[in-house]
Symmetry: C2
Subunit: 336 residues, 2 copies
């Protein structure tokens, strides 16, 4: 006799016996109540409650082929930029009964491919990626998985499946246009070495029409590196008038370095960041930056995945959420 067995978790079988109904009736009463009479539902619910039944979604998913999990890949959880997206994604999915499983690619394309495989072995019902998938084999593997795939935080004509993002090239152009419109001509760029940062730089250069002193720092960029970046830029052009930074963290460092060198912002140097971090509005001076609605990206991505899972038709599989420049003190003209 195995009376010492550490009371294995109650199964649906136990619930059915306790309620005096068949296994499948118990199953339906708990997951699809419309198919069962009210009295039976109550009996089953009472039984489940009484023996502390917790369903095993792994087992259910094996048969139904729906794991109720959605995978999301981010460069790193601690990158503040993607936090609102992950947060709203988690919430929206959770509201629909899905669990998010998060993977960190670490800005490494090789790792991304391996991670996609690892994630696939959990048989998620959908997958959300930050950025576009570049590796051809990974794209192919995702396509063959036959599940909804949402790429985010970027734009493309031919995503793997669906997409929620905006154009980084346009962001770069918009900032350059904004700088030029202010009359600044001696421009500089401080950017992380990630793909999307590179796209923004491209757009910036295209709008300027010529090359511009650039300091490239390893992603994820930080305040520390912003300080170094400004030093590097000033070495290249001591009369710099305006700097675009690929993140608010970098911009924060640029402001710190400017302060340390006695360079007045914005009078002597204008600074624009990217991301509209929560601290941007409260810095001294407050930071001009680019706002992207990261929470909306997460919400929309969740909706796309859920709709596709439910067989709902998708009106538009490519969503551009846009962006906007938020003007603050760090680029306000001194002699306006």
């Amino acid at each position: 006799m195995n009376t010492a067995v550490p009371s294995k978790a109650a199964t649906l079988h136990d619930v059915a016996r306790e309620a005096g109904v068949s296994l499948i009736t118990a199953s339906r009463a708990l997951t699809n109540p419309k198919l069962v009479s009210d009295t039976t539902i109550l009996k089953v619910q009472a039984a489940a409650q009484a023996i502390g039944y917790i369903p095993n979604l792994l087992a259910g998913g094996l048969k139904s082929r729906r794991s109720l999990m959605v995978a999301a890949l981010v460069p790193a959880i601690s990158v503040a930029q993607f936090l609102p997206t992950v947060q709203s994604l988690t919430e929206a999915l959770s509201d629909a009964g899905y669990q998010l499983i998060l993977g960190q690619t670490g800005y490494d394309h090789a790792r991304e491919e391996a991670l996609i495989n690892t994630m696939m072995s959990r048989r998620p019902d959908g997958i959300v990626l930050t950025g576009l998938v570049h590796s051809a084999t990974a794209r192919e593997r995702l396509r063959r998985a036959g599940i909804p795939v949402v790429e985010t935080w970027d734009l493309s004509d031919r995503p793997v499946d669906m997409l929620v993002g905006f154009s980084h090239v346009k962001v770069g152009s918009a900032i350059a246009g904004y700088f030029l419109g202010k009359g600044w001509r001696r421009l500089g760029i401080a950017t992380g070495d990630d793909h999307r940062g590179a796209l923004r730089r491209e757009g910036f250069l295209a709008a300027v029409g010529k090359d511009v002193p650039t300091a490239v720092v390893p992603a994820p960029s930080s305040l520390e590196q912003g300080r170094r970046a400004l030093a590097e830029l000033l070495a290249k052009d001591s009369k710099l008038q305006a700097v675009y930074c690929s993140s608010d963290q970098l911009a924060q460092g640029v402001l710190a370095e400017a302060l340390a060198r006695g360079i007045r912002v914005p009078e002597e140097l204008a600074v624009c960041g990217f991301g509209n971090a929560d601290f941007a509005a409260h810095m001294q001076p407050s930071l001009t930056t680019v706002h992207v609605d990261g929470a909306a990206i997460g919400r929309l991505a969740a909706k796309l995945v859920i709709d596709r899972c439910n067989g709902t038709s998708i009106a538009n599989p490519i969503v551009d959420v846009g962006f906007r420049i938020i003007e603050r003190r760090s680029t306000s003209l001194s002699h306006a």
Copy 2:
């Protein structure tokens, strides 16, 4: 004939057939190679590669009763304080083949209980919680689940199972002692309304020996609320000398409000935060704060869970990672 079936994912069965071995041999070749001859391993690996086999961990876990998933509950992903913990937890678990599944309780005890149930339905091999579990039913449910449970970011004599944290009461006392040692007597507290913030306040008051003007703001606390909090504190005591804030975000707001009011920090008002956020060292003035090694908490929690899963004996199920006050300009004495 079902030739139009959307090529269901390859199963181990397919691999076995392709390799000309039995199902179980294929299984062993891929997951427990020591039990199989080298030539067989190569055959099976080649077959798996050829047909693009991705194992189904859900199915494997059903029989083996190991889901290779670990659940983690945090108040909210976007709370910067827990980010290093979540990050290092994810990494350490991932290195050991485990997937983290994250749930957001939203500082809501009722939701925490429901969330624990939801998580349990995925049959995680372990669970990590930020803070202690207070609900008796939740504690009991966790205990009966029979999986490793790690509570974090707090201290207790009798955790549900294991614990990695530090004493918030001691943090509060340490800051109060630090303030008193500087000669400041007119003290104030700006704190979030969460449990751990309340503990720190308790410790603070105990060390001071009397009540102290307190502004309580809803968690998660923000810069905005820090500004309001200082306004509230100054209304209670216009000659305030030093403020302890329950987060660096709050402290940031307090500094901003002080600046707006022309109150010089630290000359007229000393400010201490909590959390050692990355911006703390770079503010103007730089912010004195309390550092807690959040990444270590995540690493240690992961190790406890993994060790317990492997049957390794746990030397000490209660780990105090401590804390330290980092002194910066915001509390440096003017006439020292």
